[in-house]
Symmetry: C2
Subunit: 250 residues, 2 copies
DNA sequence: ATTTATGTTCTCGTCTCCGAAACGCCGGTA
DNA sequence: TACCGGCGTTTCGGAGACGAGAACATAAAT
């Protein structure tokens, strides 16, 4: 396995990342100093990216282009799980009034590929495409529960178990106990392990031959963690999951 | 304005495009022959893209990675129009039961940045991130109506007026007449100009200082183009547009 | 065992990418 | 008006990476 890479490609991608780091918009000089790369180099990369729509020029400033969204659309739709699950996630948000999410696993991390806001949903920053660690979110742990143990171990080895809040699971043994519980009960909970004050109930999706995935409903502890509501959400999740799994095999 | 480009970056992007052209998935050799590029070159680019998450490896095959979706998310959210409009587009779909869309203009073309399906929505292929010509869709023409005439002319010069169906507007004078009508009436119609059998009603959005945008509702001619329904949709579009514009200035 | 496909590695000559510095342009300033 | 400091853009040369082709490894099919 050669470690040789195409340097220019990496530079271009660093430029894209730099634009994000600079709040999505930057001039040539600003980006060059941020990346510690020669101005002329950054300039040529930006022009190249611009000609392909990966970057857009507004006056003297550059932003990420919507062409990336086009590729993202393909990546997301690839195996049909998204198309199948999306309407159910939307309905989940409507039924519960909270924030509903669909997550895929890729490269050992979780990616929010769809989110839907219900009537009372918190305005938390779960933008589409956001990546998250699997061990510190409800959906993430639900996904882990669908993976074989060796895979989980590899993921933990590569990405570690970084702490997000005081409640985050950071011990491997504890994580595996939790995952066993999720496997037997079919539900995963995130008790302020990702964001303080937020509670998340998730359900793994059985997607044989396709990408690992899970769905969840998120809301403030005060609302979601109370007995009645929690059970209502669990039932809604179970129903949605069943519908999705049924439609996937059909 | 130098025409010099970074060749390696272009090659990497060609690799991504090639993956899409090969139905989203390919092996090294397959992609290399498709692109007429040496196998080893394609290999190194794929490995580089993979290390950055732009491509994912499943066994011996490569696909577009969800990292692209992350950048797409930033591009889409940039100026707040998306966040403001999205809930209204969702409601639009629910109210009308049809397919509702939000489009941005970028580089003279239209990009579907959000779509929502109502109860009876046709299952047409409007995936998020898809690019379309502005002159042949209802939303596109609505966007054109918000642009100054010189800009429209530049766009027509660059992208032409390619025909999509027998009803597509292909004459510049006719296009400008239509745009004048849209400007005075505040509504744009797509009478099977993009897809045969499909009718689309759109409304331009006033987004001063932000990206040009428009919203629309699409459905089969038989349902959407009839008097009563058409008026209902027009009213819903008008309301949604007003709410969005209000929230944008607030 | 042989064949044939694949992904991966190797090697090398050419071309290109990178960096530094110069240029042109614009807005603010005395 | 002349100056200055900032920007994006262009120029230019040398180091070095990229791209092509062929060799190698591996796996599946025959």
């Amino acid at each position: 396995m050669s470690e040789e890479r195409v340097r220019a490609t990496e530079t271009s991608i660093r430029a894209l990342e730099g634009l994000v780091e600079l709040d999505g918009e930057a001039g040539v000089t600003e980006l060059a100093t941020h990346l510690s790369i020669a101005k002329s180099t950054v300039y040529k990369h930006l022009r190249t990216l611009e000609s392909k729509g990966f970057v857009v020029q507004y006056g003297d400033r550059y932003r990420i282009g919507l062409r990336t969204l086009e590729f993202g659309g393909y990546a997301r739709r690839y195996d049909g799980v998204y198309d199948t699950a999306r309407p159910e996630v939307d309905r989940l948000a409507e039924e519960t009034g909270e924030l509903a999410n669909l997550m895929f696993e890729e490269g050992g991390r979780g990616v929010y590929v769809h989110t839907a806001s219900g009537e009372d949903a918190v305005d938390i920053d779960t933008q589409t495409g956001r990546h998250a660690h699997l061990h510190s979110t409800g959906v993430g742990k639900a996904i882990l529960a669908t993976l074989p143990d060796e895979r989980i171990e590899t993921i933990v080895d590569v990405h570690g178990l970084p702490r997000a809040t005081p409640h985050t699971i950071t011990a491997e043994t504890e994580l595996f106990e939790e995952i066993d519980a999720i496997r037997s009960e079919g539900v995963a909970y995130d008790r302020e392990e990702c964001v303080e004050g937020m509670f998340c109930i998730a359900r793994p999706l059985s997607t044989p031959g396709r990408r690992p995935a899970a769905i969840s409903v998120t809301g403030p502890v005060s609302r979601v963690a109370t007995g009645g509501t929690e059970e209502r959400i669990r039932t809604a999740l179970e129903r949605a999951g069943n519908v999705i799994e049924l439609n996937l095999t059909a």
